[in-house]
């Protein structure tokens, strides 16, 4: 009898441990979907130990330490406090977190999700690293003002699952509008940094990089992409002639490449269901002389890699013809890439991680503008011309 009881006890214990392990694994996966590491892991530092400075239009927000250190991390936080911070953007003292922490998206998490994430974070090696929360300019440094921001922008998203769609779509919608917080970059922002809800996924600008539209626009969005290409892009950073660089390179390596193929397919399926925006008036084509000057420079400087016809090389040099980034209404990304260069994402599946050198020392601003105007309007591309004055490093 004693032996039976003993065995039952151990079975229960084992089951409990297995459940706890499952919960930690589930929490870890949610941190991958949410790409927590992109902000909370300092370059070359301990996982999720904070300290990374996140640029915002209002100043620097400094990502806190999520390791279980009692003094500087989350070690002393209760489950309820963690949940409130994660999903509702409130600190234990009731004050507001800056919305660089994408809590309006994380409101999609359930309490169970939040506990799983907390269980996973508790397994990290504690790192003693005090992190100052922010370094913002007045009046954005006044946290209490965020009460107005919350009232304006932290609105509950439409509930999921949506019975009008299948399970794949609902999974995709959950990730994109929830943990994936895609709109945090890809949705245009108001002057206060809130989402322009009416123009969801119409493209945005983050830290000087254009996040292209994810809607169905054939020129600047995903209209010409197939679902499998979107999924491949998330997995490898290379598809449809495009290469992930800048902040998206990190999203791919830290999140997209590490999520399940089923979740990437769900994201792709959901994104392809987004409608194209209403057609906008095409920009006037640039004058012939501008295009000719740009073409000459392009052939000399750019064609050896990107090709005379702007076709690029899959997985190595991005295709410029038909590229959403090249034709984005805001030319910030292509200008900074020509000026400073960029490195593509490297993943296990596509490890090349090729880089483009900066041409700042080889081309002046007028030349960079001419090249930008040319590639935005050659090979069937169309986008407003770029002036030398627009070119900033």
């Amino acid at each position: 009898m004693k032996a039976v009881l003993c065995a039952a006890f151990f079975l229960l214990l084992a089951a409990f441990c297995a459940r706890a392990e499952e919960r930690v694994a589930a929490g870890q996966y949610l941190t991958i979907l949410a790409d927590c590491a992109a902000c909370h892991t300092p370059p070359g530092g301990a996982p999720l130990s904070g300290g990374r400075r996140i640029p915002t239009p209002f100043g620097w927000v400094i990502a806190p330490n999520l390791t279980p250190d009692r003094e500087t991390g989350l070690g002393a936080w209760s489950a309820a406090a963690f949940d409130r911070a994660l999903r509702f953007g409130r600190r234990p003292d009731g004050s507001f977190l800056y919305p660089a922490h994408p809590f309006p998206y994380f409101a999609r998490f359930t309490r169970e999700d939040s506990e799983a994430i907390r269980a996973f974070l508790a397994t990290l090696p504690p790192v003693h690293q005090a992190v100052r929360g922010a370094d913002l300019s007045f009046p954005f440094d006044l946290r209490f003002l965020l009460v107005f921001w919350d009232a304006l922008y932290a609105k509950p998203a439409p509930p999921l699952p949506d019975p009008g769609h299948d399970a794949l779509w609902n999974r995709g919608a959950f990730i994109v509008t929830g943990p994936g917080h895609c709109g945090a970059c890809h949705t245009p922002k108001t002057a206060l940094g809130g989402d322009v809800a009416a123009r969801a996924f119409a493209g945005g600008v983050v830290a000087g990089w254009v996040a292209p539209a994810l809607d169905g626009d054939p020129r600047t969005g995903l209209g010409e992409w197939r679902e499998d290409e979107i999924a491949q892009f998330l997995a490898t950073g290379a598809a449809h002639g495009a290469l992930a660089s800048g902040p998206m390179a990190e999203v791919v390596t830290l999140s997209g490449a590490r999520m399940t193929a089923a979740d990437r397919a769900a994201i792709a399926h959901y994104l392809k269901s987004l409608p194209p925006p209403p057609p906008s008036q095409a920009a006037a084509p640039p004058p012939h002389a501008t295009m000719a000057a740009g073409e000459g420079l392009y052939r000399l400087r750019c064609a050896p890699c990107h090709g005379r016809d702007g076709e690029g090389t899959p997985g190595l040099f991005p295709r410029l013809a038909g590229s959403a980034l090249v034709q984005a209404s805001n030319p910030a990304t292509i200008l900074r890439v020509i000026f400073n260069g960029a490195r593509a994402a490297a993943t296990d599946a596509a490890p090349t991680g090729a880089a483009m050198p900066g041409f700042a020392g080889a081309l002046d601003r007028a030349e960079i503008a001419a090249i930008a105007t040319y590639i935005r309007n050659a090979w069937g591309n169309a986008a407003p011309a770029v002036a030398a004055g627009d070119v900033t490093p």
Binding site: P304, C305, T313, P314, L316, P351, T352, A354, A355, P357
Partner: protein, 586 residues
């Protein structure tokens, strides 16, 4: 004060092609691997962007990718009875320094040696008898056959995406390829490059003369290629800045464009650059390596203990580190005994320059390994009996080196400077080309390396002393093939031509070839070789000496393909056999 570091499974000295290939296989098998490179870290976009890479002054004239003689050089003499002097400016050859080694600035000529190259001595004795062989030639068989190396050649070609046309596919001769090559399991991974005009003229004249021209196998790729590891290379833009330059658009196979993206992702591998290995540490008797001592950029000394030491530091430094570390018996040219430094050999090159009256050859369209080859006068492809020499050469029209600073062709009789010279250069540049013969170099008793008794490096260590001159056999061979080259040149219909035959004594000044081989040669007999056919030291079984230092003599071909095949075979033998049963593999 030497800091002792945490032991690793394997330490690699030198991070060129050999070091990178060893690092890839060993780290993939899970070993902890450290590579120590004397030169700086280099990567494509940062170090040779297209906006800076075509800088002839920096790279071709000032040799930016080459080791600085003030940091490490050799001393040189032609004969044992002379006093060697230090090389203070590189000329005849350019030993590389920096991550990627010579794999960064190579032309990309990617050959396989022919089957008879590996059994040279046996082949010559069988065909022509003992009396045919000059007594002071010290040529040897390699102890490895072409058939054994074929899968490793194949692996390297598919790692790089080599562009070419097979001539012998599984024993079947293929039109348009090299009919003399050893059988290959499959064709090249990418098709040949598009031929420039001069190469096409050469091929036409050669074919009309009954020869078998074919495209140069090239690591400058004809089209984009993704290798079996998923790393993508681009297509060559024919910019003409290849030899002595890094490739700015990922189109030349190098450790950077084929392996470094993988190695960067492996937590069990690290590359330490600007770390100069001073010596291989051993048990005192040279029977077991313990690790290496190196100096980092700040001048601090470190001892890196390692289970296996892989010496892959170019021919000269391989030999020198063995001698400095006291591993293996040094070669004594007087007695012919000893092995370290024995059988140093080189290459015997010559050329013909030809200018046309009207034909515009546009030589600025170039690459590193772009052109047409005739292999009919190479190796055992013809009967040497009536000719009285061993060896041969491939004849080539390669579109390289036509850059503006160093290339000012003029017809014979033109003044060396002034208005007339300028007019001649302006007319000749587009109308002139050079074709060449790249010939073998047979090891002989008077060609060897040892430690210089006088000259030392900045850390007080003796420099390597190289004693070398062309053997009369090689000059006879070279003069014969140069005559054949001139016949093809005449058949191309030039207005003028000049023939540059190779003459003794060998001069260290004009550039000839960075194909310095031998000195730590492979073989089946410890009395006449430093390493066994797995490139494992006969004396010290956890030391492998990898690179062209293992060649017992030099074939006419460029060595990189064979260097890579040998390195891959060594790496496989370490993983497959040595780790299971440490000890001699031979």
């Amino acid at each position: 004060m030497t800091t002792r570091l945490k032991p690793v499974d394997a330490v690699i000295i030198g991070f060129g092609w050999s070091g990178a290939l060893l690092a890839e296989v060993l780290s993939r098998a899970g070993l902890s691997v450290i590579a120590l490179e004397r030169g700086p870290y280099r990567d494509t976009a940062e170090d040779f962007p297209p906006s800076r890479a075509p800088d002839e002054l920096r790279y071709a004239v000032r040799h930016d990718l080459v080791v600085k003689p003030a940091e490490n050089t050799i001393t040189f003499r032609n004969r044992s009875d002379q006093t060697a002097l230090p090389v203070r400016a590189w000329g005849s050859f350019l030993p590389a320094s920096g991550a990627g080694g010579g794999g960064v600035h190579w032309n990309g000529q990617t050959w396989r040696f022919r089957p008879s190259d590996f059994t040279l001595k046996t082949t010559i004795l069988e065909r022509y008898g003992r009396r045919f062989l000059p007594p002071d030639l010290t040529i040897q068989d390699w102890g490895v056959t072409y058939e054994t190396l074929e899968p490793y050649y194949d692996r390297f070609e598919y790692l790089c995406g080599i562009s070419g046309k097979s001539g012998n596919l599984q024993g079947k001769i293929q039109p348009g390829g090299n009919p003399f090559e050893g059988p290959r399991a499959r064709d090249y991974p990418t098709p040949p490059l598009t031929m420039p005009y001069a190469a096409a003229l050469f091929a036409k004249a050669a074919a009309e003369g009954g020869y078998h021209p074919f495209p140069q196998p090239s690591a400058n790729l004809s089209q984009a290629y993704t290798n079996p590891f998923g790393v993508t290379l681009g297509a060559c833009s024919y910019c003409g800045f290849c030899e002595r330059f890094g490739c700015g658009n990922y189109a030349k196979a190098s450790p950077q464009t084929t392996l470094m993206p993988l190695l960067r992702r492996r937590p069990n591998f690290s590359l330490r650059t600007e770390c100069l290995v001073l010596a291989i540490n051993h048990d005192g008797g040279g029977k077991k390596a313990r690790g290496v001592t190196y100096k980092d950029a700040s001048g601090e000394d470190f001892f890196q203990p390692a289970g296996i030491v892989l010496l892959a530091a170019y021919t000269f430094e391989n030999i020198r580190l063995l001698l400095l570390s006291g591993i293996g018996a040094p070669y004594d040219p007087a007695s012919g005994r000893g092995v370290v430094g024995r059988n140093y050999s080189y290459q015997t090159t010559s050329s013909v320059q030809l200018g046309f009256a009207e034909r515009l050859l546009n030589p600025f369209i170039g690459a590193g390994a772009l052109g047409m080859i005739v292999d009919d006068w190479n190796g055992e492809h013809y009967d040497h009996g009536p000719l009285g020499f061993i060896g041969g050469a491939y004849l080539a029209a390669l579109a390289t080196n036509s850059r503006p600073i160093l290339n000012h062709p003029t017809p014979p009789g033109t003044p060396r400077w002034g208005a007339e010279w300028k007019r001649a250069v302006a007319k000749s540049y587009l109308r002139t080309t050079r074709i060449l013969a790249s010939g073998s170099s047979l090891s002989h008793r008077g060609a060897y390396c040892d430690l210089d008794p006088t000259y030392r490096d900045r850390f007080g260590r003796p420099l390597l002393r190289v004693t070398f001159d062309f053997h009369p056999n090689d000059l006879r061979m070279s003069h014969f093939v140069t005559d054949r080259l001139a016949e093809i040149a005449r058949a191309m219909g030039p207005e003028w031509l000049t023939i540059a035959k190779r003459q003794a004594p060998y001069s260290i000044v004009p550039y000839q070839s960075t194909h310095n081989v031998g000195g730590a040669i492979m073989g089946t007999d410890p009395e006449t070789s430093v390493v066994n056919p797995y490139l494992q030291s006969w004396d010290c079984d956890n030391l492998f000496v990898v690179g062209a230092s293992a060649f017992p003599q030099n074939a006419s071909y460029n060595p990189t393909g064979t260097v890579a095949a040998l390195a891959l075979r060594t790496a496989d033998a370490i993983i497959g056999r040595y780790l299971r049963a440490p000890g001699s593999l031979a």
